[in-house]
């Protein structure tokens, strides 16, 4: 800091304190997030004040109502034109209300709702200690069916905290793709990450694996957050601001009113490039791109399956939303620098995910690697740097999230005495014994593989088309090759289910409550509707494809 600046600091401090203007908050435009946060807080109060017996019902009721209300709010805002003509930046420049934000928020809320149904499932495991149990542990150290769990249940350590945790995570995810300054971005990141770390540790069965997954996720997540934060600091150093618009102006060189105190450090490209790369790295960690993907299989496998499904879907939507906004709003002036790097990341992500998935033997790990490959496909759309790129990614995310939650919901149904039977060998011949469940899972697998008449095809086609139009034809070629590799292991599971002899002591398929059925049914319905008649939704995504700056 130079001498005159210090002087001015001293002098202003001596003057009478001017009134601080109350921040102008557009509550209506932020209502989707506010509703969910409010419901989460109510959920905490429910934990404190509602009798144990009715907590579960109260929590489910509040959560469902809140998510439905949030979705209604999103739709109302979009119908009001906030996605297109009235798009603007709300909350004193902290949060953008525009097409991509609303589209992604709608997707996240719906994914959260479907995820909530799987969270609330209480009929898959047999009744223990006189009460129905769900997928979550009553107490950290208790083994299912043990005395300690019995004691925990008797003491009333029920598992209904998962609902407020879920709502907090959703609220963070709602802000994440809408964040319009770097600090809001970081706060949102932590708001949705911390509940997820916790949720990962809560599996009722395979406790150690669940805890290990949570610790790994937390450690690596914290590590990645550190990079993100450091990147934010460097960017602030570069631009003298954390506001997206301001940084973009500095990058373009169109900024006029430079604060003299920052003039010396501003515009240092090394800060910009390093900071930008680190920030992008933090987001690539969240979407699970190679080489920042290594947490994905372990965490997906260890976390309670409903959490895995929700996380795999909603985190990806939120993180890709934030990445899009970062690359399209903050760093478009830098695209000749980041595009080649993202090319490389997309290629190794697509190929890496698809290739390693070939030799997986656990269905949850298989789906984890599949999600890595899909991250690569979506990155191809991100790289297009066009409006079509944005809308194709939005469409892809919407289709993909329902397929993912549905697929993991099916995984929760296939059980043996030790809980979910996730080893692939146990799925042999499932189609003979439970044709409906196997057929539904086959639909999801075909959607993952991108077979026509499923949402996977429409999404992949849109993304690859946008990438090819953006000049990334080699990327598309590699993407198609990866799809072919990926098709192998998806189809292999179908072959295993329908064309193998069932094992004598194979798993049974639990009959779920209507909640899980609803979740799976919505998954199938969305998958087929987006696959058979995608045009309306493509148009919707296309309308929503413009960021406000």
């Amino acid at each position: 800091m130079s001498a005159p600046a210090v002087h001015s600091l001293w002098t202003t401090a001596a003057e009478p304190i001017s009134k601080i203007d109350a921040p102008k908050i557009e509550y209506g435009q932020l209502s989707p997030t506010l509703i969910v946060v409010g419901a989460a807080l109510i959920g905490v109060l429910i934990e404190a004040f509602v009798p144990r017996k009715s907590r579960y019902y109260a929590q489910v009721f509040v959560s469902v109502v809140a998510l439905c209300a949030a979705f209604a709010a999103v739709v109302a805002l979009a119908a009001d034109g906030y996605g297109t003509t009235k798009a603007h930046i709300a909350a004193m420049g902290a949060i953008a209300v525009d097409g991509p934000a609303l589209f992604l928020q709608g997707t996240i809320v719906l994914a959260g709702l479907v995820g909530l149904f799987t969270f609330a499932e209480r009929r898959l495991d047999p009744v223990a200690h006189g009460s129905r149990v769900d997928s979550f542990a009553a107490q950290a150290a208790s083994v299912p069916g043990s005395d300690s769990e019995k004691a925990a249940v008797k003491a009333g350590f029920t598992t209904t905290e998962v609902f407020p945790l879920l709502l907090f995570a959703i609220s963070g995810m709602l802000i994440f793709p809408a964040a319009n300054d770097l600090l809001t971005l970081f706060v949102a990141l932590e708001v949705f990450s911390l509940p997820l770390y916790l949720l990962c540790a809560l599996a009722r069965r395979k406790r150690l694996m669940s805890q290990e997954a949570a610790v790994k996720y937390f450690l690596l997540g914290a590590f990645a957050s550190a990079f993100t934060l450091f990147g934010i600091a460097l960017l602030y150093g570069y631009a003298g601001s954390v506001s997206y618009a301001r940084i973009a102006q500095v990058v373009d060189g169109t900024v006029t009113d430079v604060d003299p105190a920052l003039a010396n450090t501003m515009g240092n490209d090394a800060l910009l490039l390093i900071g930008g790369a680190m920030l992008v790295m933090g987001l690539l960690f969240k979407v699970g791109a190679v080489p920042f993907h290594m947490w994905t299989p372990d965490v997906y496998q260890g976390a309670p399956t409903p959490v895995t499904g929700f996380m795999a879907a909603a985190t990806k939507v939120a993180a890709f939303g934030a990445l899009l906004r970062l690359l399209y709003v903050v760093l478009p002036g830098l695209r000749w620098d980041w595009r080649p790097v993202m090319w490389a990341v997309a290629i190794i992500t697509m190929l890496g995910g698809a290739i390693v998935a070939i030799t997986q033997t656990d269905i949850k790990r298989l789906l984890a690697y599949s999600s890595i490959a899909h991250a690569g496909f979506i990155l191809a759309g991100v790289i297009a740097t066009s409006k079509d790129g944005v809308s194709s990614v939005l469409f892809y995310l919407a289709g993909y999230s329902f397929v993912t939650i549905g697929a993991f919901a099916v995984v929760t149904l296939v059980r043996d005495p030790g809980g979910e039977a996730t080893h692939l060998s146990k799925w042999a011949g499932l189609g003979r014994r439970s044709p409906l469940v196997a057929a539904v899972f086959a639909v999801f697998l075909l959607a993952f593989a991108g077979i026509p008449l499923t949402s996977g095809f429409a999404g992949k086609f849109a993304v690859f088309k946008a990438a090819a139009d953006g000049g990334a034809v080699p990327l598309v070629v590699i993407g198609v090759i990866s799809s072919a590799i990926a098709a192998f292991f998806y189809i292999r599971v179908i072959v295993l289910m329908f064309f193998s002899e069932p094992k004598p002591e194979g798993p049974t398929v639990a009959v779920p409550s209507p909640l899980t059925m609803l979740a799976i049914g919505m998954g199938v319905a969305v998958t087929l509707v987006l696959g058979v008649a995608p045009q309306y939704f493509l148009d919707l995504a296309n309308q929503a494809g413009v960021f406000v700056r």
Partner: protein
């Protein structure tokens, strides 16, 4: 009035639907439903015919547009029907002869428990055949074309419990596929050449297309015609198709479906007129087939196969005439109609004989039947006189015109084609006399049958299935069968004269097909005289061999030509050696390439990725520290790469 065209097709289609979907409940009345709807179609045809006759010759084309079938960009296909003199002629033939044969089948199939289904298929055939001749574009025609192929397949294999019938149906279907390919390629060529496949745009713009393209289209149409009309080289299925019930042979494999190829060529006359090379190919195919079929017909002891050879030969005449261009179109169709009468009558007569002879088909086990079946004898005899061209009967007028037209082609070609046609007339007289003599004259060989010799060529299946080895008791067929035969016999006798006197048929059809008198080196009288001489020679030889001498009940070994003709002039051997073996070799080598090269590459790639996957997954060792290192390395690379991008 054009609104009556659709019901014409719809009536038998409805019959097919009702009979095939209706199930057992309709077993007792099904055959009458089928006959009624077929007759209804005939009545519609008559009404339309009367309407056409009431108009001037230029205004005798009715079109009915039902709906747009396919419309994609410049590709437009309509469901539109076109009724002109040519299709009217076919409609009357199809529905008229078809209704008679429905009636006949009521008696013929009386003891078959699947009679209802049989009538359903017959109605389906009628609908498809009517669609074929009434379509206003080639694509819709193709639908009918495939439809009659399907009906033919179903009816040839109607007695599917006999392996020979099932095989024959399959054979007919496969051989027809080759022809169908020709038609589909022709339609594609038309679309690329003319941008349409409707009759109007294609046939009136042949001047705009190059002769090469028209020749290609013409040859593909000829291939299609060869398949459907059993012309060389796609003739092999027709003989085996006689495995079907005899009414089927009469309707589909003599009177109507097999003439679809002639219809196609005459309908596409404008294309052929502008492509002389394709026309020449048509005449060659016709001439070769008319001799081929006649020679095969001479050697067969199975009455239906002898008639099948004859059918092939007579259609050869029609194709020959159609290949001659405007000189011959009218006579091709005229012969087609008269042939429809007398050949259907002959087949029904053969069926009547079989009906009275325990389904025996071997003519060497017939003989002297005229006393037992007088009506059959007389109607068959009239058909016989008509087909050999006995003066005054149908065949005389129509065939004579074709021979004249062949000579009128002019030049060496004219002499060769005319000579072939004359030779064919002599052979026709020979083999038909042979059939007549072996069946109705001579000693009664069905009495005191010796044990069946293993060489007896084709008599087994029928006798085996009925399991009757007792001596037959020949008897006349019931009225429901003889009445159609009588009606057809009347047509065989008077049809030709009716058409020819005052050139009625010529004036009727000329507006559609055009007509030109050729420049014949021989006078009409000379040609007729030559034909008569050939006829007498043929009949005389046959009398000398089968009339004067007793017919041996077991076929003698015969000359080389006889043996070749018994084997259908080695058509199946040729197909087997060239096509089946060749195809097998081709597929085997392709399979080899597939197994070694393609599968090798595929499996190698898969194994490569599998191995890579096995290596890469070891990086996922479960230690958070390793993951963190990987992330750190990745971040470092990311930063370095970004900086590097700026540097370069």
């Amino acid at each position: 009035m054009e609104n009556l065209i659709a019901p014409l097709i719809a009536a038998p289609l409805l019959g097919a639907a009702v009979l095939l979907v209706g199930g057992r409940r309709l077993d007792r009345v099904g055959h009458w439903i089928g006959t009624l709807l077929s007759t209804a179609s005939f009545v519609f045809g008559l009404i339309l015919f009367a309407d056409l006759l009431g108009k001037n010759a230029e205004h005798r084309t009715l079109t009915q547009h039902l709906w747009t079938w396919i419309s994609v960009g410049g590709f437009q296909a309509d469901v539109t029907f076109r009724l002109d003199q040519l299709s009217m002629t076919f409609v009357l033939l199809i529905t008229g002869v078809g209704s008679l044969i429905h009636l006949y089948s009521v008696g013929y199939m009386e003891h078959d428990e699947r009679r209802r289904r049989f009538f359903g298929y017959l109605n389906l055939f009628l609908a498809a055949m009517l669609l074929l001749v009434l379509a206003d574009n080639y694509l819709l025609l193709y639908v009918g074309w495939e439809g009659v192929g399907l009906a033919s397949y179903l009816l040839i294999g109607f007695w599917q419990h006999k392996p020979s019938a099932a095989t024959a149906a399959k054979k007919a279907f496969l051989v027809n596929r080759v022809g169908d390919m020709g038609l589909s390629i022709a339609i594609m060529l038309m679309f690329t050449t003319f941008g349409s496949f409707a009759f109007g745009p294609v046939l009136s713009h042949t001047g705009d297309a190059s002769e090469g393209k028209l020749t290609a289209i013409g040859l593909m149409l000829l291939l299609a015609a060869c398949g459907k009309s059993a012309q060389v080289p796609l003739q092999s299925w027709l003989g085996d198709a006689m495995e079907g019930p005899t009414p089927v042979s009469a309707l589909i494999h003599a009177a109507t479906m097999v003439t679809a190829g002639v219809y196609l060529i005459v309908r596409s006359g404008a294309v052929f007129n502008a492509a002389p090379d394709a026309q020449l190919a048509v005449t060659v195919v016709g001439a070769v087939t008319l001799l081929f079929g006649a020679i095969v017909g001479c050697a067969k002891d199975d009455i239906k196969k002898a008639l099948a050879g004859s059918t092939m030969s007579q259609i050869g005449y029609m194709v020959l005439a159609a290949g001659l261009g405007p000189i011959g179109y009218v006579f091709a169709i005229m012969h087609l109609v008269t042939h429809g009468f007398f050949k259907a009558g002959l087949f029904l007569g053969a069926g009547s004989v079989m009906h009275g002879m325990n389904d025996e088909v071997d003519m060497r086990r017939y003989g002297g039947l005229r006393k037992y079946m007088p009506v059959t004898f007389i109607t068959f005899g009239l058909g016989y006189l008509a087909i050999i061209g006995f003066p005054g009967l149908s065949g005389f007028f129509s065939k004579d015109k074709i021979i004249e037209a062949a000579f009128a082609k002019g030049g060496t070609e004219g002499w060769i084609l005319g000579g072939a046609a004359l030779l064919g007339a002599a052979i026709t007289a020979f083999y038909m006399t042979r059939v007549m003599l072996m069946t109705f004259f001579g000693e009664e060989r069905w009495k005191n049958q010796p044990t069946r010799s293993p060489e007896a060529p084709s008599a087994e299946p029928a006798a085996e299935t009925r399991g009757e080895h007792s001596e037959p008791h020949p008897h006349e067929s019931p009225k429901v069968m003889t009445i159609p035969m009588i009606v057809l016999a009347v047509g065989s006798v008077f049809g030709g004269a009716f058409f020819s006197i005052g050139d009625r048929f010529l004036h009727w059809l000329e507006p559609v097909t055009g007509h030109s008198e050729g420049d014949s080196p021989l006078s009409a009288t000379a040609v007729t005289g030559a034909t008569m001489v050939c006829l007498v020679i043929g009949v005389a030889i046959a009398w000398a061999r089968y009339g004067r001498k007793p017919v041996p009940a077991v076929a003698p070994r015969g000359s080389l030509l006889t043996r070749a003709a018994r084997r259908d002039l080695f058509q199946d051997d040729f197909n087997h050696v060239v096509l089946v073996r060749g195809g097998e070799h081709l597929t085997r080598s392709l399979v080899y390439v597939d197994h070694t090269l393609v599968d090798g590459v595929v499996n190698g790639t898969a194994a490569g990725f599998g191995g890579l996957s096995g290596r890469l997954r070891r990086l996922q060792n479960g230690f958070a520290r390793s993951y963190a290192v990987s992330m750190f390395g990745g971040a470092a690379l990311l930063v370095a790469a970004t900086l590097l991008m700026r540097a370069v």
